[in-house]
Structure formats: C-alpha cells, structure tokens
C-alpha cells in the first residue's frame, strides 16, 4: 500500500443508533482504508452495519442516527465535520455510489440520458451538446447495447442489468476517485451479475478508481476483491488480502460465512424410488391481455410444454433465472394458477383438471412454502394461529389444531413458547420456519418450495436447508424446490431441471447436470456463479 496513495481512511468510526434500536451502535470503532486502484469488499450479513458504512461515508444517515467518534479522512478532509455544502460537492463528483435496486434508485419519469446528464449539468459547466456526447460515451463505456436508444429510454424500458449499467455510468460520469457499490448485483440474475462484476472490474482497472464494494456473498468477494473486511454486528472481525481471508480464514464467523457458501458439487446421490409421486406432462401456461399477473396486451408463454417426474421421497430442483417460468410452473402445480394444458398427476389424480372445490379438499396432499418470509405470513395473526390455520380449515377442532401447531414449532426448530407472538417479532429465518410449519401442519406428501431461502442470509440459509433435508428424511416428503441459486440447488436436490424461457432445457441427476452440463445454457449458468474456481473447489 506504500506505493499507491490512500484515498479513504476510516479511523475508529462509530455510529450511534437511536434509543430503542436493537443495539446502541450500528458501527463501533471500525477502521479501514482504501488505496487508489483497489477494490475493498465489506462482507457481512444483514444487520452487520455494512450498508451503514456506505451511508456514513456519504453522510446519508437516516434521522436519529449520528456519527459518534472517529474520523473519515477523504483526500485530507474529515468528512464527519464537513459542511453540507462541502458534502454536496464531494458526493457524485469525488465519491459516487451505486445502489442495490436500480429500479428504485432511478427516477421513473425521466429518461436515462437525462438523469446521467443531470449529474454533469450540476457539477460541470459543459454545454448541452457536450453533455449529450459525454452521456453517450459513458453509456458506451458500460457496454449498454445501442447507447443512443438507451439514453432516450425510461428506466422501466430497460432490463435489470441494463439499468444497473446505467447507474454505473451515472456514478462514473464525473470520474470519481472513490466508487461505493452497495450490493450492486444482489437483485440481478447470475449471468447478469457475472457481466456486471466483470464490467466493474474492467472500468476500475481502466480508470484506476478505488472501489468500496459491499456484499453479503463470498462468491462475489472471490470474484472481485483485492482486500476484504468482514463485519459482524457493527464490528470488523477480520480483514486482509482477499485470497488470504478466503483460503485461511482466522475468525470463527468468517469461517462460518465461507462454509455457508459450499462448492457447487452435488452430494453423493441417494437411492431414488422408482415410483413417481408427481408426474407433469405437457404443462402449458400462456398469459394474455389483462390477467392479474400479466402486464398488458402482450402474449407471454410463461411455461411451454413442461414434462417432469418427481420420484417418491426425492427432491426435484427447478433452476432458472428470473422470467424462466419456474415460479409460474410452481404455481401451476399447486393450482394457484390454472394451467392451459397438460396434466399434473398426483397419486393418480390429475390436478390440472380438478375443480377449485376439489382442489380445496385435497390441499393436504400438496403444500407450498413461499419466498418472502415477510409477505407470506398474515401480520395480524399469531404464529401458532398461522400454523393451525390449515388443519382448522380442514375440520380439526380448534383447540386440537392449536396444540398440534405448538408441537410443530419444536419440529421446525422454533421455541414453542414463542408461539403466541406475531410474525413481526420473528427474524427472517424464523418466519420461514413458521411458513414451513404451516405447510407441514397438513402433513402433505409433496411440498412445493418457491425460493424458500432466497430472502435469507447465507448462514440462515444453510440452517433452513439443513432443516429441510432433515424433515425430508423424517417425514418422507417429496419436494419440488424452485431456486435461482445453483449452489442451493446442488446442496439439496437429487434431481434438477434447468428452465429457460418456459422450457426445460436439461434435466437429470444433480450430479450429472452440474458435473457435466450438456446444454450451453446450463454451462453458462454454472460459469456465471460468482467466485468461479473458488466456488467449484472444496474449501472451508
């Protein structure tokens, strides 16, 4: 670090949270430094204070949250004591920021070119024509296809990846010395994520920018970081060069985080039953005008002619990126959506053809676990009521159902004494366990899990996956497991089907599909997993 100049030094920085928060300090006594031409990753799970770091450096703290000791030295200035006017000059021009969700970070009513141009308009005195040409060259730099058209487009007209490229173009407009990227790829598909990471790396090398990259994913760290800072509960637990930390983690928490990112290698295959419990053949779902999920007059072939078989007691993973139709397929199987054609045979009965009323009576056979642990629980019901709901609907006396629900709490690893709390009093992982208990309360034979761990922190993910494997053995469950994350699929699925644009492009034993992928799309997906070699080799 002696050879290159230090751009930013954070010195024993503490940030105080308002009274009544879960801890007194969001960040306490954190020190780190970033040199020119260097990418530093801050890694940590939700609540570690990593995003608060970014906001503190930009001085964009929410009301009631204040810095409380320490200094942030940027180019000789202490940002903690800078005036609001000084900060305005620094933001955008010297320190730029890229956010997690480009759709909400961009103004939906103005064109991309307009918004990038605004940055130049505020901070420079370039003419309109110069600004326009700068905007186009920036958009070319971030490899947006057809830059002149992209400049005229509104945010909703671009894909997620293109929006993030536009955000990066905006952040780089003034050649900042420091770029802060707060989970910039978390909302993106793996293949897009790989492209964006590559782009950030390239631009950083070309412009010698210092980058502070905030992420929860050690795969991303392996992909991009020069140095790593691991944070937990607002404290730095470990830091050092990326390869050292990844290969030889010292702190227990770092080890745990890295262990939670297992290699994409399927466990030894389990013997599979020859009896199929669920057979899909030729399932089709097309959205047309109107429809409550479709977006307008366009015809979308969400699921095209999908045929799959789930052996009894097995776990079938359906993997794919957003828009591949995997969630639509899950909802067709459980008949939240009516498929247009095809058959869904469960225990010899065709669910695709049963009436709504017949489905209602048979819901004990097949249950669903939802993605979002915050949205999938009715906020006005106690946890125990949520779990008992299903049996009560199916005629179990209320008191008996409630008593059985309490027993289920134990089964999914929750404290039965917490049963009378409301959902908002539980953490994300705990809520997902409640969702699981709710599904299991009906003793289903088949469980359809739609991205059940995607909204959870990695270490919590590992726990929930372990619970799911345990329960699968103990209760003899057959599971359809929908996920976009190949690492998760590799851990839990016996069989895997890869979907793209509503079609299953490849399916088979997980070990075969991930070990020697045949279809180019499967190969591309596996290639795009962040951390590349690190993810594919054993470690931890």
């Amino acid at each position: 670090m002696s050879a290159t100049a230090t751009i930013l030094t954070v010195d024993r920085l503490s940030v105080r949270l308002p009274k009544g928060a879960d801890r007194p300090h969001a960040i306490s006594e954190v020190s780190l430094s970033i040199a020119e031409n260097e990418i530093v990753c801050i890694v940590g799970e939700s609540g570690s204070g990593k995003s608060m770091m970014a906001n503190t450096i930009m001085r964009l703290l929410p009301d009631g949250v204040t810095t409380d000791g320490g200094r942030i030295l940027f180019a000789g200035h202490d940002l903690c004591t800078a005036t609001a006017a000084e900060m305005r000059r620094i933001r955008g021009a010297d320190i730029a920021m890229v956010f997690q969700e480009p759709m909400t970070a961009l103004n939906p009513l103005r064109t991309i070119g307009d918004q990038i141009g605004e940055v130049l308009d505020i901070h420079t005195d370039l003419s309109k024509a110069e600004i326009r040409s700068r905007v186009l060259s920036l958009l070319t730099d971030v490899n947006i296809p057809d830059p002149p058209r992209a400049a005229k487009a509104y945010p909703h007209e671009l894909s997620g990846g293109q929006r993030q490229r536009a955000m990066i173009a905006m952040a780089l407009a003034l050649d900042p010395k420091l770029l802060i990227a707060d989970e910039p790829t978390t909302a993106l598909d793996v293949t897009t994520q790989a492209q964006i990471l590559k782009l950030i790396r390239e631009l950083q090398q070309r412009r010698k920018t210092a980058v502070l990259f905030i992420t929860h994913d050690f795969g991303v760290v392996a992909e991009i970081a020069d140095r790593v800072v691991v944070m937990q509960h607002g404290v730095v637990v470990e830091h050092g060069p990326a390869m050292d930390v990844l290969r030889h983690p010292q702190h227990a928490y770092t080890k745990q985080l890295i262990a939670a990112v297992p290699p994409v290698a399927a466990p030894p295959p389990r013997p599979l039953s020859d009896n199929a419990i669920l057979t899909l053949s030729g399932v089709v779902k097309t959205y047309r005008t109107g429809g409550f999920l479709g977006r307008g007059e366009r015809v979308t072939h969400a699921v095209k002619d999908v045929s799959l078989t789930l052996p009894k007691g097995a776990t079938l993973g359906i993997v794919g990126e957003s828009g591949s139709g995997k969630s639509t397929l899950a909802r067709c199987i459980i008949r939240l959506i009516d498929p247009d054609a095809g058959s869904i045979l469960l225990n010899g009965q065709d669910w695709a053809r049963l009436s709504r009323g017949d489905i209602r009576e048979r819901t004990q056979q097949m249950q669903m676990v939802f993605q979002d642990p915050f949205a999938s629980l009715n906020p006005r019901r106690k946890a125990v009521e949520l779990v008992a709901q299903g049996p009560i609907v199916h005629g179990t006396p209320r008191n008996q159902a409630l008593a059985e629900a309490r027993e289920l709490f134990d089964l999914v690893g929750l404290d039965p004494s917490a049963a009378d709390r409301f959902p908002h009093e539980f953490s994300g992982g705990q809520r997902q366990r409640i969702g699981l208990a709710r599904a299991l309360a009906l003793r289903p034979a088949v469980l359809v899990a739609d991205e059940p761990v995607s909204a959870l922190d990695v270490s919590v993910q590992a726990q929930v996956l372990k619970l799911l494997t345990d329960l699968r053995e103990r209760l003899g469950l057959s599971i359809i497991f929908i996920t976009h994350d190949l690492r998760v699929a590799a851990q839990i699925c016996d069989l895997v089907a890869v979907m793209k644009d509503g079609v299953v492009v490849e399916h088979g034993l997980t070990r075969d599909v991930f070990g020697s992928p045949q279809h180019p799309y499967t190969q591309a997906l596996l290639e795009a997993i962040p951390g590349g070699d690190f993810a594919r080799t054993a470690h931890g």
Binding site: R360, Q367, A375, S376, N378, R380, V393, R438
Partner: protein
C-alpha cells in the same frame, strides 16, 4: 395493549377522546339533567345566555331551553352519526371487498354503480331521498348512510386490490380456504385500519349532513337536534346570533373530536408505524 399505549402517547388523540367523552356524557346525562321534553316551552323567548340562572344557555325564539336542546341534541347527533356511519361502512366494505377481491366484470359493475353515486353531489341525493321517503329520524339516518358509502367502498377496494395478490393470501388459498374465509379472515383484518380511520370522517360528514338538512328544515322537526336549532336561529341570526352559534359550536366540537379520534386510531392501529 400496545395499540392503547401508542394511542395515549398522542396529545391530539387524547384531546379528541376527551371531547368525544364529553359529548357522549352530555348524551347520557341529558335525561337526568333535563328530564322535561326539550321541545316544550320553558320560559320567555330569546333570553341571552347567562342572563337567567334557570336557562344557562338562554332560550330560543319560541322560549325553549337551549341547554336542554344541546344535551338532548347530542343524543340525536351521535345516533345519526353512528348509525349512518355503520350503514355506510358496511355497504362500502361489502361492495369494495367484492370488487377488489374478484376483479373483472364484478369489479366493473360495482365500480360503475359507485361512480354513479359519486357523480351526484351527495347532498342533492340526500334531498331527493328525504323528499321521496319523508323526513323521520329513521329515514334521514338511512338516507345519510346511503349517500356516504361510495368513499369507504373505493378505499376498501384499493386495499383489497393490493392485498389479494400478497403471498399470505396465496398461502391461505393453498391451505384450502374458501373465498369467503380469505376475504373475511385473511384480507379484511389487514384492510380495515384505513377504513376505520375513514369511518371517523364519514361520521363527521354524516353529522354535518343532518345539520344541513335540519337547517333547511328538512330533518325530523319532532326531535331536538342541533341542526334544527341552527335552523330556528336562522330567523334571528342578526341579533340573537347565539341561538345558531351555540349548536354550531357543539357540532364543531363533535366533528373535531371524531376526526381526532379517527386519526389517533390510525396511528395506533397501524403496526407498521412502529418500525418507522
């Protein structure tokens, strides 16, 4: 309990509750304090307030005790406000829930009907209803309820539209719940808080509508309502202005109290506020 604590933390909400309790207290105590018919002649007409200790708030142009009419009027106003609100909110929730939950042609038909009601100024509609069905206390109350339902209906529909596609509703469906169970037990409790708050506004407007009818002497003249008193005072407004002003203040206080309580309930019932 939490909700109650949050409610009492807001000074405005507490003030509203105190005012409302005073009005309710007046309604309850009217029978004891003024056991005589408030519409019976009591003394000389047009005695100014505080001029005669027997008539603390004076008398109106036909010599009836204003204080007695204010106390008994509290009963009428609360009764009309409460019952009319109940009618309006019940119709509104039913229409809004069905339209929002089912969508499609059901939504189309129900919303066109709602719009038909909304395009008519509701006071004109109220006048028509009263003109046709007469102006007894019952018909006036029902009429006020009938003209007030479109707004709660639209509000409920909007809530249902955003809630029906939530995952917890889908989860309920996969558990095998019927539509009625989903509507009443899953969605409605979550949709209710803004409607309850709006009920405060509906109640305030209902009281005002009745007063306006009474001012035009189209309300039930055989009951002691604040509106009737204002209507009477109209004739002597330039000199004995207190005949109209006193019931006016009573209406203002009640409407203010109801609104403050509604707002307080909104802040207290909304658990999401806790996280802000």
């Amino acid at each position: 309990m939490d909700a109650a604590k949050r409610y009492f933390r807001s000074p405005a909400a507490v003030l509203g509750l105190i005012l409302l309790l005073i009005v309710v207290g007046m309604a309850i105590s009217a029978g004891y304090l003024y056991p005589r018919d408030p519409l019976a002649l009591a003394g000389r007409p047009l005695i100014w307030p505080f001029a005669n200790p027997r008539f603390l708030l004076g008398t109106d142009n036909s010599g009836r005790d204003i204080a007695a009419q204010i106390f008994h009027g509290a009963r009428i106003s609360l009764l009309i406000g409460g019952v009319a609100t109940l009618i309006a909110v019940t119709i509104g929730i039913m229409v809004g829930a069905l339209a929002g939950y089912y969508g499609g042609w059901i939504d189309n038909i129900l919303m066109r009907i709602t719009e038909a009601f909304q395009t008519l100024p509701n006071f004109v509609l109220l006048l028509v209803l009263v003109a046709v069905f007469g102006s007894t206390l019952t018909t006036v109350t029902i009429a006020v309820g009938i003209v007030s339902w479109p707004a709660p209906a639209r509000l409920t529909r909007a809530e249902f539209l955003s809630l029906r596609s939530r995952e917890f509703v889908q989860a309920g469906r996969t558990l095998g719940m019927r539509d009625t169970q989903l509507i009443l037990r899953e969605i409605l409790p979550n949709a209710l808080p803004p409607v309850i708050v709006y009920a405060g506004v509906v109640m305030a407007v209902a009281i005002l509508l009745e007063s306006a009818l009474a001012f035009l002497r189209l309300s039930d003249a055989n009951v002691a309502s604040w509106g009737n008193l204002i209507g009477l005072g109209r004739d002597v407004l330039r000199v004995q202005w207190y005949v109209s002003a006193i019931p006016g203040v009573a209406i203002l206080t009640t409407v203010l109290a109801v609104s403050l309580v509604g707002q307080g309930l909104n802040d207290a019932l909304n658990p999401r506020l806790k996280q802000r």
